[in-house]
Amino acid sequence: MNWVLSNLDTIWDDTVAHLAVAVPPIIISFLLSIPIGWLVVRLRRPGASRVSSGLGGAVVTVAGLLYAVPSLPLFIALPGIIGTGLQDPVNVVVGLTLYGLALMVRSTVDGLGSVDAATTSAATAMGYSGAQRFFRVDLPLAGPVLLAGLRVVAVSTISLTTVGAVLGIQSLGSLFTDGIGRNIPEEIVSGIVTVLVLAIVIDGLLVLLGRAVMPWTRKDTTAKRRARRVLQAAEATS
């Protein structure tokens, strides 16, 4: 405990560096997944039993395979593909965005795909244009499921960022590599605890953001129940 108290500034520095690398991928992967999800749902043939069939299905499968790629090898392979340096933080950000996308696309597809056809028809009947309908009807209805996916992406990204430390990229993972070199278990434990705290805090912030942006979910309504079911099924086979 003494070590932690006297090294708070190091922990703080590493936390700031960590967030700088971890937060952009969360935001970017969320934003990118929406057009991709829209496209996949759009390509679904009417009457098909599964969302993931045809070209849309291929996109979802590729996303799933991307998720199977282990992180350290991906961070190492990326410089050859996109031309960044190995120790360039941009490299890690791109890698984390890819993982975020892999997780998020599935969630976006599920969310947008679960919007009731009757509701969207009603919206079109009322005179909404395509874009208006998407932003005013589909997206808000898919909101809880998207939020559930975003929370998973956030926690995953924050944890995954630490891997960059073995490549020399500063993050909370640096507490692990330094701790093992100097034989200071307290340092490693403080890193683990900080990562967990960060994940909890950001998860909480996302929940609050969700409540602010989607006030209709504040009560325990069908939307919330649906989102919870998706989350539970998600927890199951991951």
Partner: protein, 307 residues
């Protein structure tokens, strides 16, 4: 008209933008650019260190002495191995780097035959590329060594590397993975001492994991740096190297052209007081007392009257 949906969208967008802006602000000011851009300010000296706590302490010694003399110092520590930071040093992204003479020489000149401290120093002068120069070496050495437990040494009557060839059991060396490609690694042991060893890669630079592996008997030899306090603490025996397979590793500052004579003189002040025993003391403060490199450096410099 600001409707409820627009308000909600506005909140979400504002939060996202705010977070992104705050973090990009943090990112540009935090030392994240590991060499992607070269240092902009001509009065700022960038000091780097290896991903090795002892090296960071030495770098901090240089940094604080330079700061006392009025220089602006930017720290870029824990960069990684030689193969990563030397190009950055040559590019001008880093200005000062604490180095180890023998390994540095062998990096630039794989066929170097210099063994003694002075030979290495003069060979280094010739081998370093344009734009880099080595300042005076310190007396302190921190070299790779092949270390065994006291029991192993007594049981097999082994006190030097030349005694190893008579040991019957299979020998495994615990060391960083790059040991396998270094001249003093398994290849060197075979050609110079006729000893065949296997390698077990443990990436903690002779740290706690390697020490534990040696104590547990998972490895019989370990590459533990000579300034590591764990050698004395565990009563280990460092095998002698009569044929000088492992060349001397004096702590040598390597600097870019940006470092002028005034700065060089400051760094020399540190080199003059850095003995091997002093280095072991500094290392002990880091691993046993778990102090920060900045505090260790400050205390040492104050003791020596340099701060």
């Amino acid at each position: 008209m600001i409707t409820a949906p627009k308000l909600r969208a506005g909140i979400a967008a504002a939060v996202a933008l705010g977070v992104a802006a705050a973090l990009s602000g943090c990112a540009s000011s935090s030392p994240l650019d590991s060499g992607a851009s070269s240092s902009s300010d001509s009065k700022t000296i960038v000091i780097g260190s290896q991903a090795y706590y002892s090296n960071e302490i030495i770098a901090e010694l240089y940094a604080q002495v330079l700061e006392k003399d009025g220089f602006t110092v930017k720290r870029n520590y824990q960069i990684g191995q030689r193969e990563v930071y030397l190009p950055q040093l040559q590019k001008g992204a880093i200005d000062v780097m604490p180095e180890y003479s023998g390994n540095l020489l062998q990096y630039y000149d794989k066929n170097a035959t210099a063994k003694s401290e002075s030979d290495i120093a003069s060979a280094l002068e010739k081998a370093l590329p344009k734009g880099l120069r080595a300042l005076d070496a310190a007396e302190a050495t921190d070299q790779d060594s092949y270390t065994v437990t006291k029991e192993f040494s007594e049981q097999n009557d082994v006190t030097s590397l030349s005694d190893l060839s008579k040991v019957k059991e299979t020998l495994t060396v615990g060391a960083n993975s790059e040991n396998q490609t270094r001249p003093y690694g398994p290849k060197g042991l075979k050609s110079v001492y006729g000893v065949t060893v296997q390698s077990k890669a443990i990436e903690d630079s002779g740290g706690a994991l390697t020490v534990k592996a040696l104590k547990d008997g998972t490895v019989q030899l370990a590459d533990i740096y000579t300034a590591d306090p764990s050698i004395k603490a565990n009563d280990f025996v460092t095998l002698k190297d009569p044929k000088n397979l492992i060349v001397a590793q004096n702590v040598t500052p390597v600097v870019s052209d940006k470092v002028d004579d005034k700065a060089a003189a400051d760094i020399d002040k540190v080199s003059k007081v850095l003995t091997t025993d002093a280095l072991i003391e500094l290392n002990t403060k880091s691993t046993v007392d778990k102090e920060k490199s900045s505090e260790i450096a400050k205390a040492f410099l104050q003791e020596e009257g340099l701060l």
